[in-house]
């Protein structure tokens, strides 16, 4: 046996205490939804995890009313310091149950346990800790004196970082004094429902957090259109985001949208090449490429292109694809059959349009949804794989000759969420960063997240910022405006 054939090291699921059926969590109670139910499956095995009740528009109505009532009677009257106590309590409970949440997230989403254990769940706790600290300091958020909450926030989150996206939305909303109605994604409701348990454990007043799984077209639409909602925060596709913006145009409801991306990862010839290769991999193969801010376009200076691509493919051969619960797995399962079909179709288009395809030679499990890490070279800027968001483990390699060309090519996309710069030349790094129209620009690293740092997009990647002090602004009315 070669040493590299590491023996299986699966994380045990014994820590989970799942219920066979989950309802909706409204007004501090578990209730049944009127929208039927679905079976949530593990994308790695296609085995069912639990039955989930789905909300219809009347359930959304109930949830919004509950949120309104708790806002009026409890949450808006509570001091910031008191709200902060609840948030600290939630953060600590998540830390205490971190392993359980990591296993559940991996099971439900398909992402490797290494990521949920080391990245997703620790960040969730960090987000609650960060905003817990803000709850009694809103006067100092730079929004003028005495800023006020908006009221009821409707929040719709995607399936790629289920619990982390919940934290990004719920933590600042509660810290700012809002109550929330949150709709998790259809394929990944599990950890949001477990989070409802955390709210109960923390003794959070009923109705402050309401979790309503449902279909986007039913529950999502009802939430967006509900007149009792003061704010909609959405993370997801640009198409849905556009619909939301259209629906809410001309209303008083505030909106923030965090949508798609086609991030450029720019590697200059004076980069630390080995570390850049790691960053390229972190940029596109983290979370199977299901990352809106993924560095899905590699822009590499032409004079080092061959070296970089060779090192990249060599390094990719050491990635381990398979059981997401195995602690040595680097690449997990694609989240759903539909997403797998989409990735497959775009990759085929890219190949048909003339790009050269390289695919990692590895075995894939017989059950579940899997896509081998793929790199396209000889990609022209007009190729579909260079323009469309793939949301999968597919990297397009383009080249450039000068910094100006790199900037033009990086900005040549309707999106503007993220970008990366790899150079050891600090003045070039700053100049290029200044010229990139992307909400987040990473230098000599990629896909790093921190609750103190704002995150959001330019252009079709959406508007509004989440994270840090800026993230509070999305949930507060300017001081004195009241």
């Amino acid at each position: 046996m070669s040493f590299r054939d590491y023996a299986p090291a699966p994380e045990s699921t014994a820590i989970l205490n799942l219920r066979p059926h989950y309802g909706l969590y409204i007004d501090g109670q578990w209730t049944e939804g009127g929208g039927g139910s679905i079976t949530s499956i593990s994308p790695a095995t296609e085995k069912s995890i639990a039955e989930i009740s789905m909300a219809d528009s009347s359930d959304i109505d109930r949830a919004v009313l509950a949120a309104r009532k708790s806002y009026d009677t409890v949450w808006s009257r509570m001091s910031g310091a008191e709200r902060g106590k609840y948030l600290y309590r939630i953060a600590r409970l998540i830390q205490e149950r971190a392993r359980e949440f990591a296993v559940a997230e991996t099971l439900d989403n398909g992402k490797p346990i290494r990521e949920t254990r080391d990245i997703d769940i620790p960040l969730v706790a960090a987000w609650f800790f960060h905003y817990a600290g803000w709850a009694d300091k809103l006067d100092y958020a730079g929004l003028g004196p005495n800023p006020s909450a908006l009221g009821v926030a409707g929040q719709i989150i995607p399936w790629n970082f289920p619990l982390l996206m919940l934290a990004w939305k719920v933590a600042p909303a509660l810290a700012a004094g809002n109550t929330v109605v949150l709709k998790p994604a259809e394929t990944t409701p599990l950890t949001a429902l477990m989070f409802a348990d955390i709210c109960q454990q923390a003794g959070l007043p009923a109705g402050v957090v309401n979790i309503v799984p449902g279909h986007g077209g039913v529950a999502g639409t009802a939430l967006v259109e509900h007149a009792g909602v003061n704010k909609i925060a959405f993370t997801g596709s640009t198409a849905v985001g556009r619909n939301i913006a259209r629906t809410l145009a001309g209303t008083e409801t505030r909106v923030t949208l965090e949508l798609g991306g086609k991030g450029a990862n720019i590697v200059f010839d004076d980069a630390a090449v080995d570390e850049a290769v790691e960053g390229i991999i972190a940029g596109i193969f983290f979370n199977q490429g299901h990352v809106c801010c993924a560095g899905s376009r590699l822009l590499v200076q032409e004079n080092i292109q061959d070296e970089v691509v060779e090192k990249l493919t060599r390094r990719l051969a050491t990635l381990r694809l398979g059981d997401p619960l195995d602690k040595n797995t680097d690449i997990g399962a694609v989240n759903s059959k539909a997403q797998l079909a989409r990735i497959t179709a775009i990759a085929e288009t890219g190949e048909a349009e003339g790009a050269t395809r390289w695919t990692l030679d590895c075995e894939i499990p017989s059950k579940g949804f899997w896509f081998r890490p793929t790199i396209f070279t000889n990609v022209t800027t007009s190729n579909t794989v260079a323009r469309d968001e793939i949301f999968g483990p597919v990297l397009s390699v383009l080249s450039f000759r000068t910094p100006d060309e790199a900037i033009i090519k990086a900005n040549n996309t309707p999106y503007g969420l993220s970008a990366g710069i790899w150079t050891q030349n600090a003045s070039r790094m700053l100049r290029v960063a200044d010229s990139l129209r992307a909400g987040v620009v990473w230098a000599n690293t990629f896909n790093q997240f921190d609750p103190t740092s704002p995150f959001g997009g330019y252009k079709e990647s959406g508007y509004g910022r989440e994270g840090g002090r800026h993230g509070l602004a999305a949930y507060l009315a300017n001081g004195g405006a009241r």
């Binding site: 046996m1 070669s2 040493f3 590299r4 590491y6 023996a7 080995d274 570390e275 690293t445």
Partner: protein, 394 residues
């Protein structure tokens, strides 16, 4: 004042060979004719005041231009033929991003090695150990005891493999060789005898003494030489001195029968400090003829670290991709626990490749590591931890 012919010959030779004066000028300076000057120079050669050796230019390793480097086959193939090209080569290497490198090492350290893999890893680690004692208090008895441990690490479990080599000071080599007897080999065929040399650990002595140190160790029967580079010269930017010393020591590793001891070059990464320096020193050592690049003497902190070892593994991987030749890597100092050693093994497999998991290409410089591995092995066999009383002290 009258001078003897011998004294005049000496003065004439100095003027002619050191100062480049002509025979005419020498005549003027010494107050003699130029013919007399010519005769004095001839006398100087005949009496051995002046020794001239003629070097075949094909053997360029012998040619050492003033302020230059001794070109090696490896360096010539990379276009490194003088001071300037050596400097340009080392400064032309891609930079190392410290945060990125440490993150990569940290990620490798999260691999979970269990069951069969762990068992295989533990045995592999033993096979890769250079079991070391480098103390002023070393005695023949201590070395004999170390050698017995190297041959039979676990008397209670004869399935435990032997280590790759023992590593001692030069004057202890003879005792190690004698104690090993027929167990001696090259790390794979038997146990190697590694000796530190070149004024280990500081390297602060003259080249002649370093070479004599090396020759002595080889003559005593060392099969591997662990030399230190001149860190002072490296840090002052004098790459030539560092390079030439390695070349000379490499030659001093030769034996009369034409074979030679293998050369490990210790960069002492704890004194070079930056990853860029460590990367340059690693490339320099390889160009100068190293068979192995080694992190540390174990006498300076920090000694071996995982990021440093990952970096060296990247260098030997790149060298292999460039030339098809495999160079070894030896982290040394501070690796005391099995779980740490397993992380290094993961790094070897994932950064350089499985081929490097071989005593010819990877070694752990360690002493207390062996007992921890044996304890882990016993635990895997018996299902419970024993304790330090159940492994031998050496």
């Amino acid at each position: 004042m009258e001078f003897s012919d011998r004294e005049l010959s000496l003065r004439a030779a100095r003027l002619y060979y050191d100062d480049g004066k002509t025979q005419d000028e020498i005549g003027d300076i010494l107050g003699i004719t130029r013919w007399k000057a010519g005769r004095l120079l001839a006398l100087a050669r005949e009496t051995g005041i002046v020794a001239i050796s003629i070097v075949d230019s094909a053997d360029t390793a012998e040619v050492r231009p003033p302020n230059g480097i001794v070109v090696t086959d490896r360096s010539r193939a990379q276009g490194v033929t003088d001071s300037g090209s050596l400097r340009r080569f080392l400064h032309g290497l891609a930079a190392v991003d410290a945060i990125g490198l440490e993150e990569r090492a940290g990620r490798l350290a999260t691999r979970s090695i269990k069951n069969d893999s762990k068992r295989a890893a533990l045995d592999t680690i033993i096979r890769l150990i250079d079991l070391t004692t480098l103390e002023g208090a070393d005695t023949p008895g201590k070395v004999r005891s170390l050698v017995r441990k190297a041959i039979l690490p676990d008397p209670s479990d004869l399935t435990a493999p032997r280590v790759a080599a023992v590593c001692v000071y030069p004057d202890m080599v003879q005792h190690a060789v004698a104690a090993l007897g027929s167990h001696q080999g090259d790390g794979v065929t038997g146990i190697g005898v590694a000796s530190v040399a070149t004024a280990f650990p500081s390297g602060r002595s003259s080249l002649d003494i370093k070479l004599a140190d090396t020759r002595y160790a080889v003559s005593q029967g060392a099969t591997e030489i662990d030399m230190v580079i001149d860190r002072g010269a490296f840090l002052s930017g004098d790459f030539d001195t560092v390079f030439n010393e390695i070349v000379e020591v490499h030659r001093a590793c030769g034996r009369p029968d034409g074979t030679r001891a293998h050369l490990k070059v210790i960069c002492e990464t704890g004194e070079l400090r930056t990853y860029d320096n460590i990367k340059r020193a690693s490339w320099l050592a390889i160009l100068a003829g190293a068979d192995f690049i080694k992190t540390s003497t174990g006498k300076v902190q920090p000694a071996a670290t995982l990021p440093t070892t990952v970096l060296m593994l990247e260098v030997v991987r790149d060298w292999f991709n460039l030339t098809g030749e495999r160079i070894g890597v030896k982290p040394a100092g501070g690796i005391r626990q099995s779980k740490d050693a397993i992380r290094y093994l993961v790094a070897v497999a994932e950064v350089a490749g499985d081929e490097w998991i071989d005593p010819h290409l990877f070694r752990f410089g360690a002493s207390s590591l062996l007992n921890d591995v044996l304890l882990q092995r016993q635990k895997m066999t018996t299902g419970h931890y024993s304790g330090l009383d159940y492994v031998t002290v050496d």
